[in-house]
């Protein structure tokens, strides 16, 4: 039982952390442009970096 008292909060805490991270990503608009996110990594940024005000 002592093991449980330790492990249960850890397991639930990790799950909750994942859920919180998901909600954070949802709020920040990370799911707005899935195709773009996949392609963006391939852009060669040799030109001066653009300004991102968002």
């Amino acid at each position: 039982m002592t093991g449980l008292a330790f492990l249960l909060p850890v397991a639930l805490g990790m799950g909750l952390f994942g859920l919180a991270a998901f909600f954070w990503a949802l709020r920040r608009g990370q799911f707005e442009d899935l195709d773009g996110a996949a392609a963006r990594i391939l852009i060669d940024d040799d030109a001066p970096a653009e300004r991102r005000d968002t």
Binding site: M1, L4, L8, A11, L12, G15, L16, G18, L19, F22, F23, L26, F31, E32, D33, L34, D35, G36, A39, R40, I41, L42, I43, D44, D45, A47, E50, R51, R52, D53, T54
Partner: protein, 732 residues
């Protein structure tokens, strides 16, 4: 569009431009950097899924300046129309419930596994308590989607798939809570959450497909110039959106632009392409006093147009009225999932009630009878059934989209599968709908002349020049270096090439209006006459043969003159009717439907709108008018007409898979329901059965994406075309 609140001059405004031509990382980079390099642009961010770029810029920078900048780096763009400003995403509201259901399901399942593997006494009770603490709020949150839909159906005295789901979920949750507090052996939180998770996944997939299709179709919104340059009192030019145009204003319309409103020509002489409105392929000369209609293309020279009608008063209003009354066949159509749920929901409730009554009569006691009835409800909850349709349709739509066919929603696939008769418009659908240079002349051009012609043509927005530039580039020509390039509206382009005068001009001695040609004239060399004509789409014959093989008879319905239609009818061997008005087309479709046919309409023009809306299923090319694209169920982006048989064949395959899925899902119920009625189903068994049947249904649906599956029947027809297409796709 522009957020045009009156703001101080230096306050940045945000403009969203639709850029349909963006496909890859390279395009994104070019568009973002190209815009960022513009003076006055604060930032530019591309959304590739929506094919849009939102630009934050100074108010002094106008929309046409932005589109010109994009045109210079090779991207056509349009400001996003207002009605598309905030397309409410269907997926977004489902993502949060999906996340919550997934989190709760995993954690409760972890606890349940411990219970199943032998946790007892205080441990089991602790685990049940924890499951309840996680499960009840999660079920309340993630189940809202279903509860709301079930409630709105019940309030109107109807039932849908969500009613048995909601009742099952609510009862199972209540029973599990009761078991938890009375120290019972079994709680069903895990099964309930898993059910919600699978069902939400099915919903989210369905919504995702619709979002993607809509984003793609919106991105194509190019036609019917959404605005025009208005000549002010002091001769100042101002760009106004189409909805702000008023009768009496004077518009200056450049060659290659479409008219944004109905009007009469007040200055200039040009030729008009009316094909989108009437289906006529031959350009029509127009001079001062002649009427022009919104949607026509100005071919030759800039003209001034006095607006006589705008917005709702235009000739489009008549077509819009016809279309409103035409959509009945489609609104009467009931989707297969709804048809299934019509008998499924009552059957499930009867079964559960009968088991409850049966066990009560057998003397089992209230508690045990209730547990068994709820087990029946959970087992029969249409988990696999809820996935059966959306997963198959999502996979099929994904496969079609990869091959250049956008599907608006799942019901389009269902209706397309039933088609046994096709009606095809001529101009723009069976043919390319734009003038293309004679390939024989291009092949005979010396490399130098081709290079000069490409260089000249690329400086002009004239439709013939653009067609020539496109064809030459496709032939592998490289643009020659030119100096002093000048475009003379209505005359052509001239420049200096290696010190010699090079011209791309209209032919001498104005020829008959019906013929289109231009001359490549390099001083010192013989001149080349390039003739232009509207041509059949590549593979039109193969596509029609493939349709025939699918048991679909085709015919042509065109608004063009009898002569032009007869030519195409002879080339394709199809029966044809010429000089059809929009109402004629709609009537022809209704006549076929009255004979018991399920009719597919393929068309592009404004004049096809009512027919597209009236047909059982409809498809339009990507070059179609916005009316055509909105009325059609599917839009194909490739030049090839093979999109038609492909869409029909894959729709039929999808319906086969959907029916298989139903058999699988119901077959599982046949096995599990007797066990549930006998009272031997435990939460463990329910969880295993539920996930297995869902996985089987998903796996079966995924077969639709297999390339083998897709090509099997098509191998003899598709091979050459597929090669061509992969080659095309390889080009940036």
């Amino acid at each position: 569009m522009t957020s045009c609140a009156p703001a101080p001059a230096d306050a940045p405004v945000t403009t969203v431009l639709v850029v349909p031509g963006m496909h890859c990382a390279g395009c994104m980079g070019k568009v973002e950097h190209g815009l960022a390099a513009l003076a006055g642009v604060r930032s530019a961010r591309v959304n590739l899924s929506a094919r849009q770029v939102s630009v934050v810029h100074d108010a002094a920078l106008t929309v046409p300046e932005l589109t010109t900048a994009l045109a210079n780096i090779g991207f056509a763009s349009q400001p996003r129309a207002d009605e598309l400003a905030a397309p409410a995403s269907a997926v977004k509201p489902l993502l949060a419930p999906l996340g919550v259901a997934a989190f709760a399901c995993m954690n409760v399942m972890l606890l349940s596994v411990s219970v199943w593997s032998g946790a007892e006494g205080a441990t089991r009770e602790l685990f049940h308590m924890l499951s309840a603490a996680i499960g009840v709020p999660a079920i309340a949150y993630a189940g809202r989607v279903f509860f709301a839909s079930a409630w709105s159906a019940l309030r109107r005295g109807r039932t849908n798939m969500d009613v048995p789901i909601s009742i099952g979920v609510a009862l199972a949750t209540g029973l599990s809570l009761y078991e938890t507090f009375t120290h019972g052996a079994d709680a069903w939180f895990d099964g309930t959450l898993m059910l919600l998770l699978f069902l939400l996944a099915g919903r989210a997939l369905d919504a995702m497909m619709r979002d993607r299709a809509r984003a793609g179709v919106d991105a194509l919104l190019r036609q019917a110039a959404p605005g025009a340059m208005v000549v002010g009192r002091q001769g100042a030019l101002e760009w106004l959106a189409a909805r702000d145009l008023l009768p009496g204003m004077t518009l200056r319309v450049a060659a290659g632009e479409r008219f944004a409103a109905d009007g009469t020509i007040a200055g200039g002489r040009t030729r008009l392409d009316r094909s989108l409105l009437t289906g006529e392929s031959a350009p029509v000369p127009a001079a001062v006093g002649d009427a022009v209609l919104a949607g026509m293309l100005n071919l030759d020279a800039p003209v001034d147009v006095r607006v006589t009608a705008s917005g709702a008063d235009t000739s489009l209003a008549e077509i819009a009225r016809l279309m409103e009354s035409a959509g009945q066949v489609r609104s009467r159509y009931v989707r297969i999932a709804d048809r299934a749920s019509r008998w499924y929901a009552p059957a499930v409730h009867t079964l559960a009630a009968v088991s409850f009554a049966g066990w009560m009569l057998h003397g089992a006691g209230l508690h045990q009878s209730l547990v068994i009835a709820i087990a029946v409800l959970i087992i029969t909850c249409p988990c696999a059934l809820g996935l059966a349709v959306p997963v198959a349709q999502v996979v099929a739509c994904g496969a079609l989209m990869k091959r250049g066919v956008m599907v608006k929603d799942g019901s389009a696939l269902e209706r397309m599968a039933k088609i046994d008769r096709a009606v095809i418009d001529k101009t723009g659908t069976l043919t390319m709908g734009r003038p293309l240079p004679d390939p024989a002349v291009l092949a005979a051009l010396p490399a130098d002349a081709a290079a000069v012609a490409l260089g000249l043509a690329s400086h002009s927005r004239h439709p013939l020049s653009r067609a020539l530039a496109e064809a030459l580039a496709a032939h592998g020509a490289r643009a020659a270096e030119l100096a002093d390039v000048i475009e003379e509206p209505g005359e052509g382009v001239r420049a200096l090439w290696q010190g010699r005068l090079a011209r791309l001009r209209r032919p001498d001695g104005e020829n008959a209006a019906g013929r289109m040609a231009s001359v490549i004239d390099i001083a010192g060399d013989p001149a080349f006459l390039v003739t232009f004509a509207d041509r059949l789409r590549p593979d039109a014959a193969q596509a029609l043969a493939a349709l025939h093989r699918l048991g679909i008879e085709s015919s042509i319905l065109s608004g063009d003159s009898a002569g032009a239609v007869a030519d195409i009818a002879r080339l394709t061997g199809l029966e044809a009717r010429a000089a059809q008005t929009p109402a004629d087309k709609q009537a022809a479709i209704a006549a076929l439907q009255a004979q018991g046919h399920a009719v597919l309409m393929a068309g592009d023009g404004l004049n096809d709108g009512p027919a597209l809306a009236a047909a059982d299923a409809s498809i339009a090319p990507g070059s179609a008018s916005d009316v055509g694209r909105q009325a059609a169920d599917m839009v194909f982006l490739t030049d090839s007409l093979l999109a038609l048989p492909r869409a029909v064949a894959l729709s039929r395959a999808t319906m086969r898979v959907v029916r298989q899925n139903f058999v699988l899902a119901i077959g599982y119920n046949m096995l599990a329901v007797p066990l549930a009625i006998m009272g031997v189903v435990t939460p463990l068994l329910a969880a295993v059965a539920m996930s297995t049947s869902s996985l089987v249904v998903i796996a079966n649906s995924l077969r639709l994406a297999l390339p083998e599956h897709f090509q099997q029947k098509w191998a003899p027809v598709l091979r050459p075309e597929m090669r061509q297409e992969s080659h095309r796709a390889g080009r940036p």
